[in-house]
Amino acid sequence: MFAGFMINTWIVASIVAIVAGVVGFFVVLRGSSFAAHAIPNASFAGAAGANLVGASSIGGLLVFAVAGALGIALLSKRGRRDVATALAIVLMLALGALFLSFSTEYAAETYSLLFGEVLGVSSSELAPTVVLALLAVAAVATFWRLLLLTSVMPELAEARGVHIYRVELVFLLIVALVTSLSVPVVGALLMFSLMIGPPAAARSFTTNPFVAVVLAVSLALTTVWIAIAVSYMTTWPIGFFVGVLGAAFFLTGRAFAAWRGNRAHPRAARHSQVVAA
């Protein structure tokens, strides 16, 4: 599992986990889970198209993920965001289906694009992954306060002169970046589970936004490391383990929050003791 050909997988998967944790914090905070599902789906068509014409698949992923993000942003400016997002998914999946139908390597390619491929990471993909990851993290750091303010109180941000539409556009482009570097590893269908599960779980354990991001990254790293190891041993798809672990962390977080919630009312507890006495 730590053989030479696996080293790239470990490195790339760790980078993916760090970025998914950071960006996922805002995906959950902004209620953008649907967009985080749609953009990887859009990128899937891009990878299929790139394979067809013999271009780099990460390039195809990037172009279609960005197109999907812009499409969602433009359509939702005039209408409901969920409908715009759904239409973007449908359009991109339709293109993906078309491109795949032209391809000769139908089954294997589709499978790895949709569900991820542990052994699929080559050293040529390492450099673009690192660049995209640094870009995504730098963008989140640059827009940290604006993302926080527009997520928590959009109407107030607008009243303070913030262009909330531009911030949303920037955010969707960041999601597109993360998608492009993550899809080759965890797959288009399960990519967003890494952006949702760990950050959603982290929310239950802390009230501090910085700590929540650090915790989301830690949980995402734990998720992919366990997923790679178990996937290597069982030969089951890595996406399966990423999805299951994400859900497991989330449920643990909710259980912890419920337990803490019961403990958080000592006044009520004391009161009931007095009544009992």
Partner: protein, 290 residues
């Protein structure tokens, strides 16, 4: 409680907020008609009217989110720039996710620099400013609590601290008393009066019920059907003025220091009143929501 404003101008009579003949038309309907009033430093003014009367539209005009069809808004004697640090705003019903990992102090700090690029590094000065503001609104006991899990009154305090930390000269609050229990309602009203009186901030608050703010307001701006009447409570909240404003026979009843505004008998039943109303500019409307 520290001084909340930057040095106030020498002439304290200069209005901080001045609306002059504001008219708003939206999709062929007149929403506001010749709205005219002002708020001076240290004054607490109540913008009173039922839902749909035009209160939120007036706020949107003041905030620069809506360009009026006519008239002008002056803030500290000048036009309103896009990012005006002299206006603090607390929007109506802020729905905060209860699980959100954000403490009261984080939300207050966003009032300081939430509109800027970059990450705010923790510093002693920043922390002191946030603590001072949390103290000012009496929110220290829940400074580190998850802001979404606080009660309505507690959240309102945190929101006021968020709006005040940039030291605005004008504070706008849209329905700050909605959904508060009676005790929190009174506490928030007293806090706002203190902010206005002791620190010279001009405060404009909207409310659908006049009575909770009655003990503290200097003047009221009564809104009905997009028209306003402004002045002291005694000048504005009278049977004559409100009947004219509503275009309907309205009775104002004073009872133990409280004011009840109720719809009177239909003017159609009273030929003399019908004739009087016929001379008014407002159309007669049978439904008077108070």
């Amino acid at each position: 409680m520290a001084d909340l404003t930057e040095s106030t101008s020498a002439d304290s009579r200069t209005p901080i907020l001045e609306l002059d003949g504001i008219g708003v038309w939206l999709s062929g309907r007149e929403i506001l008609h010749d709205v005219k009033f002002e708020v001076r430093p240290g004054e607490l003014v109540g913008l009173i009217g039922s839902n749909g009367a035009g209160k939120t539209t007036i706020f949107r005009v003041i905030l620069g989110l809506l360009t009026p069809s006519s008239g002008r808004v002056l803030i500290v004697g000048g036009p309103r720039p896009r990012r005006n640090r002299s206006v603090g705003y607390v929007p109506q019903k802020i729905a905060l996710d209860p699980d959100m990992p954000l403490r009261s102090r984080d939300l207050v700090a966003l009032g300081l620099d939430g509109h800027k690029l970059g990450v705010s590094l923790p510093s002693r000065r920043r922390r002191e400013m946030v603590d001072e503001m949390l103290h000012a609104v009496d929110a220290m006991p829940f400074a580190n609590a998850r802001v979404g899990s606080l009660s309505g009154g507690e959240q309102q305090r945190v929101m006021i601290a968020h709006a005040l930390i940039s030291r605005p000269k004008l504070l706008l609050l849209d329905e700050p008393l909605a959904n508060l229990d009676l005790r929190s309602e009174q506490e928030v009203v007293e806090l706002l009066a203190e902010i206005a009186k002791e620190h010279g901030v001009a405060v404009l608050i909207s409310a659908h019920d006049l009575n909770p703010v009655l003990p503290v307001v200097d003047r009221v701006v009564y809104v009905a059907h997009g028209h306003v009447a402004s002045g002291t409570t005694d000048e504005v909240v009278t049977t004559d003025v409100l009947s004219q404003l509503y275009g309907h026979n309205v009775d104002v009843i004073r009872l133990h220091g409280r004011i009840l505004v109720v719809a009177g008998p239909s003017p159609r039943a009273d030929p003399a009143l019908m004739e009087q109303l016929g001379r008014l500019s407002n159309p007669v409307d049978d439904t008077v929501a108070v």
